[in-house]
Symmetry: none
Subunit: 360 residues, 2 copies
């Protein structure tokens, strides 16, 4: 009959953190207190109480505005690929991502568990800024995952991972001269096809509502859209591109500049399903009817689009197939298979909806 040493949660966390420190799980800096509180399933106050003990032991040294520095000498670089975890980077809380993305991340999590891996989600805007080196350095130092999955990745982020040669997979498109394994929809073909559909319905003034951040997929979309218009036999067709950010006001502004001009477009391709919602409601406020006054096509699919009237014409893709492809590539990466070529981009099916009409 042994006695339990310290039974408060804080002390238990302290014990655990001590052993993790000794193992060299973190080099340089501990994860932030807020992150620890999430991964350890304890409140920040409790985590702080535990850290207080480590600080008293001289194991860590908190620095205001920076973090908790690991004070011991650098442990041998433990290659903890035995942890069998995979990290995924997302820019925002998963609840604010598009539902479809959340769904395939969910599927990915399940499939990886079957393979004996755990998926850890790392959310933060700091990884997506123009110079993410510092934030990424710290992240990689703090979490020794077997591989990383990049979603909605920026060019700087891709370059950083390509240079570091950290095992990583881009869930999305890569930028022109970056060679990382990746898998994505064929946005170029999608938007070329969308332009074709609208031209065939008689529209001549087309517009693409695109994200300003110029992610690889958005760049591809733009190129495909312009190609679709310029290579058409209709020489009088014009393509305009309007940019917006992720907030609603920004979409409203972009639409205002589009429709306040003399010859406003009669057909619109929206590259983001949230932006589609904003677009539909802003147009309704302006008294424009879909599809009588303007035709809409959504590049992205998401479940909630099915509840709109009229139903948006869009390109449908199941989350399951996407997740399976990602897992396939990921397992190749984890097993260090020699053949690490990216699968061909996915071309989803076009689902016609009531949001497009023929222009007389």
């Amino acid at each position: 009959m042994t006695l339990i040493p310290h039974r408060t949660v804080a002390s238990q966390l302290a014990v655990q953190l001590r052993t993790d420190l000794k193992k060299g799980t973190w080099r340089g800096w501990l994860p932030s207190e807020r992150v620890l509180s999430r991964t350890l399933q304890a409140s920040r106050n409790t985590v702080r109480a535990a850290l207080e003990q480590l600080k008293a032991d001289g194991l860590i040294e908190p620095v205001r505005g920076l973090g908790n520095r690991v004070v011991g000498k650098a442990k041998p670089p433990i290659v903890e690929h035995q942890t069998r975890t995979v990290g995924v980077l997302i820019p925002e809380p998963i609840g604010r991502l598009r539902p479809l993305i959340a769904l395939w991340i969910d599927e990915l999590k399940d499939l990886l568990i079957e393979e004996g891996y755990r998926l850890r989600i790392h959310e933060g805007r700091q990884y997506y800024q123009t110079n993410p080196a510092r934030a990424l350095d710290r992240l990689i130092g703090q979490h020794a995952h077997s591989a990383w999955v990049l979603t909605l990745s920026s060019e700087a982020m891709q370059r950083w991972f390509a240079r570091r040669k950290t095992p990583c997979l881009v869930a999305g498109s890569t930028y022109p001269d970056i060679t990382l394994p990746h898998y994505d929809l064929d946005y170029r073909a999608i938007c070329r096809h969308a332009a074709g559909i609208l031209l065939h319905a008689g529209h001549r003034r087309l517009a693409l509502l695109n994200r300003e951040s110029r992610r690889a997929g958005d760049v591809d979309s733009e190129r495909g859209f312009v190609e679709g218009v310029s290579r058409s036999p209709h020489r009088d067709a014009t393509a305009v591109i309007a940019y917006h950010r992720d907030d609603v006001d920004s979409v409203a502004r972009a639409l205002r500049t589009l429709f306040d001009q003399k010859n406003p477009p009669t057909a619109l391709v929206v590259s983001n399903s949230y932006a589609y919602l904003s677009t539909a409601s802003v147009l309704a406020q302006r008294g424009l009817r879909v599809p009588q006054d303007i035709s809409l096509i959504s590049r992205d699919d998401d479940p909630f689009l099915a509840s709109l009237v009229p139903e948006p014409a869009r390109y449908r893709v199941g989350p399951h197939s996407f997740a399976k492809k990602i897992v396939g590539s990921l397992l190749q990466l984890l097993n260090r298979s020699p053949s690490l070529r990216s699968p061909a981009p996915l071309l989803p099916k076009f689902a016609a909806g009531g949001s497009t009409a023929v222009r007389p």
Copy 2:
């Protein structure tokens, strides 16, 4: 990074007592609770909580006036050797559920994994029909989960589980005379509050757009809404309730019957966020502007609502807090803790949006 299994002192004691029992430290009878409380350095209440768990596992058998008898090995069929999985029932593929539901199921999955459980999702309409006995019989027979979580549950389903005494937790409201552990939002209070908001803004002809299926939460909503109107000081206020199914056409029909009558409502509470989308777009098609012509309130929250213009007034709730509460109750169920009372229903915060306006 491993997690401490269960951090309450009671659970720690239970673990310790279990191993001591297995080692055969005591034969026949355990030391008295007062003695244990002294040797284990814990209060008698805590010791009793631990013993409660052992009793639930069939390891000991308390006898009044004598003590806690050590039962031989009479534990085989109990949960101990089961697969340690939890099943969750949903009516539709998870991609078609509301994003918020998918989110908290996701959180639930994560939290359970930390506790050493796996979450299995069982999707099928057959469990939600009017007489689901056969389907449920087969399901339970095929999957020996430690516990079940019921989402969007029907009355028949709840009755079946209550009768079978299968360990289960209702994520949602229970029907009046069913006693199952459950956790939900306080829909009654929400809709009462919504009615109050609209009345205070000068509206007198209110309507609630509700699901036809009459789930417990929807029944509560209806009651709260009617209460909110009938108990108001405005004697001229009227409440109408229109029913719809899950498809878009059904919502459109319900709206038609509401607005084709002589005195259509000027304010509408929509109890489902998908239905809110349909409603907003149908109203736009009819040329009604929100909020100038009609005020809207959404009972449910979902991320995509933030992309609408004007932003819907709604009741916000974070998926994390909901999932944590569910996990808490679930662990109580799995550990057979004595206190199996349902937590108080959650009252989310009202977030005013541009979708409501004062009626002169």
